[in-house]
Symmetry: C2
């Protein structure tokens, strides 16, 4: 029997040089049941923006003979001393709000909204949004984020910036019912115009603000549009316990029950925060959901506002993926998803009074597979595996704060930091190499944004975009 | 009237060139009542290991004429784009335990102690302690720590490493009553032999382990020795609520009351953790204290073990300084005091259900003045002021994650990270410049330590140094 020809001989795609080859790293991969499996001395081959293979280098080089590389490639990254991870996903943010980072500190939520953020947001311009988003993209690339789900205004500017930065994004134009039907229409228009742009890196969604700012009719109409156009819906709900209590007092339903009645649990839905979940009433509703419903958790801001945290364990038992997020920098101060991973591990142990819960490996699962599913890209990203988009970050674990390594999962979750991300790749394109950003000019962006700040933060006009009652 | 001669003409010390000049930074200083005051475009002059002056550069250059520098100096650091802070103080750690970083994860305290740490510590060698401490010093220098309070075994090795690393330290040889009187005697011997060494950078203390492992007679004898020799006492107490409950069940006294009865509240005392404080009983005891009593808080580990946190607000009301700490890396995973500062701000808001409490400026006060007082060096370090030791770190705030700056205190506490520390200076000597360590060889230390790990973590012997009952 004649042996079959090798793939290099039979497959023209395999005969072409790879676009990118990463060698010598330890690769974080997922086993058949989703368990995290580290492959030492791994080789990652990338072609046409996709991962072709992730193999232990012994396997990759088998049969190629001594001194012969396993693959030719246009670009080679020496990954020794690093761990390759699927790029992090920021499942809920408002990128342009980095312009307000540190502006309104040490305040309760109602003062934060009514006295600071919503007055200042009435000064927003397309140019502030563009520069803020650009600075945010720089921060996220440096922090190992390769995909972000953004929920804000003037989103065409954010889509433009996504395109120029090289990042992947899930973008939604926010609206309140106070804007009238135009708000919802503009959100749909944006979602249909920009979906699939930036070489497929931009996905879009509908983005009603929250059940306390968008009325039942608007929410039901949103569910209808989502079904009609196959769009994800991304909104805030049950942000804190007070909102749930107020919702119950006002109309006898929790925020999640409001979403259910509007039909939003029957479409693909990304709920930000859900720290105010009424587990007795809301978990059954979430279990009945026919859509792919997920939650984004941003634990830093909950500590800062002195809220409870997202009930991750209860959501897990209800089969709801929980992705990691940062919220906007105006409340969270950073877009550091790595920190969100660490804090999720720490805060969940504390909230459940159980040091054995939310292990480092579970935290990494939230950071990878669950976050990818949360933003509707569960088949495209979130895992280093053949056929997935080549969104890869290399994390340096040679620093004194990450040595020695007894348990690599613990090293990543509890010792490593976002600043240890050395190289970031999206769709096979290197966006940061050895900490150097290749697609964003930070000093120029900071300078231009700085010129706009005095006008942006002027609250003397007495206006606000909305009233927070929760 | 003849004007007095300028200081440069009259004072020979002023005529000598400065040893170090830092220009163009923003300096974090303290006003007369301790309020934090940022001085923009500051010049810091260092001579003979001390800060000579911190001035706005307009003031420093007055009268020197165009083109003439305000000071000549042997060494100059351009601090533009950075904030100069007093070096951070790690008020409670076990540096050699970095050798066990990540070894025993996701466990409750009793299993962590009895099944992992205390069996492994029965394998400790002087060489492991030396290499672990060296790696820890590298991590701390890179994280902006300039002083650490260490409580461990084989402390002569740690004192040697402190000397070679250039750091400042407050060192105590730990002991249990199970060692017999020799434990306490060795702690005293170490304290007397090594105090004031390393050019005065090493301060020493007595280091009984805790009220649950050191009996009343030993604690009382320790208090007597502390008084006799003018030594600080550094120990663990009320680490968690369970310990307080067990102490009450065993002998009707809280751990703090045990310390009080032993006379330890009448000497200078540094208590690690105190998350299990019985505020009704213990705060009056702490108010009655005649010694300088302080608490070190290491909030990351409390989250990880699912404990309550240190009651910082109650301690503040009782006039007890609270310094920041990391504990050892075996439980805490890092020696990142910057993270402890951030977590203290976040966790205290959450614990007190008050987002307006523990502001960014309060967090910086804990990181500077209160930490210095906690380790007994309140007059020497903790503030950038003339006459203080020149322990200074420069923190880069030009990164995208720290821009724009609306409130520099918030930028430092909530956006900046330990990795933003660019340069570290102790006693006027530069230990890290532009992220490059100048006194520790990390790869060599990691290599040598790695060779010792298999023997270190072997638990097949079934021994442990002590039994944890809490």
């Amino acid at each position: 029997m004649t042996p079959p020809p090798g793939p290099a001989a039979s497959d023209p795609a395999r005969a072409r040089p790879a676009d990118l080859l990463i060698t010598g790293c330890t690769a974080l991969t997922h086993g058949p049941q989703g368990a995290i499996v580290f492959i030492d001395d791994a080789t990652i081959v990338v072609r046409d923006g996709l991962i072709v293979s992730v193999t232990a280098s012994g396997a990759a080089t088998a049969g190629t003979g001594p001194g012969v590389g396993p693959e030719r490639a246009a670009e080679h990254i020496d990954g020794r001393g690093t761990v390759a991870l699927p790029g992090l996903v920021n499942c809920h943010t408002h990128t342009p709000m980095v312009a307000l980072r540190g502006l309104a500190e040490d305040l309760p939520a109602h003062a934060w909204f009514n006295e600071w953020i919503w007055p200042v947001e009435s000064n927003l311009t397309e140019r502030v949004v563009r520069l803020g988003a650009r600075l945010a993209c720089a921060e996220m690339i440096r922090g190992g984020v390769t995909t972000f789900a953004d929920h804000y205004f003037a989103m065409d500017a954010v889509a433009d910036v996504t395109e120029e930065s090289g990042l992947r994004a899930v973008l939604g134009q926010a609206y309140f019912s106070s804007q009238g039907p135009e708000g919802r229409a503009a959100s749909l228009d944006f979602a249909l115009r920009r979906r699939g742009t930036a070489g497929g890196r931009v996905t879009t969604c509908l983005a009603p603000h929250a059940p306390y700012t968008v009325d039942d009719a608007d929410l039901a109409a949103t569910a209808g549009l989502a079904r009609e156009h196959g769009l994800l819906v991304h909104l805030h709900a049950a942000e804190n316990r007070e909102q749930t209590d107020n919702s119950l007092a006002r109309h006898g339903r929790t925020p999640i029950e409001v979403l259910e009645q509007a039909g939003l649990l029957d479409v693909d839905l990304l709920i930000a925060h859900a720290t105010g979940l009424d587990t007795a009433r809301d978990l059954p509703a979430l279990r009945r959901a026919r859509g792919r419903v997920a939650v984004a958790t941003a634990p830093r801001g909950y500590l800062k506002f002195a809220w409870d945290t997202t009930p991750v364990r209860a959501l897990r038992e209800a089969g709801i993926p929980v992705g990691l997020a940062t919220d906007g920098a105006a409340s969270n101060n950073t877009l550091d998803v790595w920190e969100s991973m660490t804090l999720t591990a720490l805060v969940q142990k504390h909230a459940e009074h159980d040091p054995t819960w939310l292990t480092a490996r579970q935290a990494l699962d939230h950071a990878t597979r669950q976050s990818a599913r949360a933003v509707g890209l569960g088949e495209e990203i979130g895992s280093l595996a053949a056929g997935r988009r080549a969104d890869i970050v290399l994390v340096d674990v040679t620093g004194p704060h990450t040595q020695p390594v007894h348990d690599l999962a613990a090293t990543l979750v509890h010792s490593a930091r976002s600043a240890d991300v050395r190289t970031s790749v999206v769709d096979g394109r290197v966006l940061m190499r050895d900490r150097e950003l290749l697609t964003v000019d930070v000093p120029q962006t900071v300078r231009e944004l700085g010129e706009l700040l005095p006008e942006l933060i002027d609250r003397s006009h007495g206006r606000r975009v909305q009233e927070y009652e929760g």
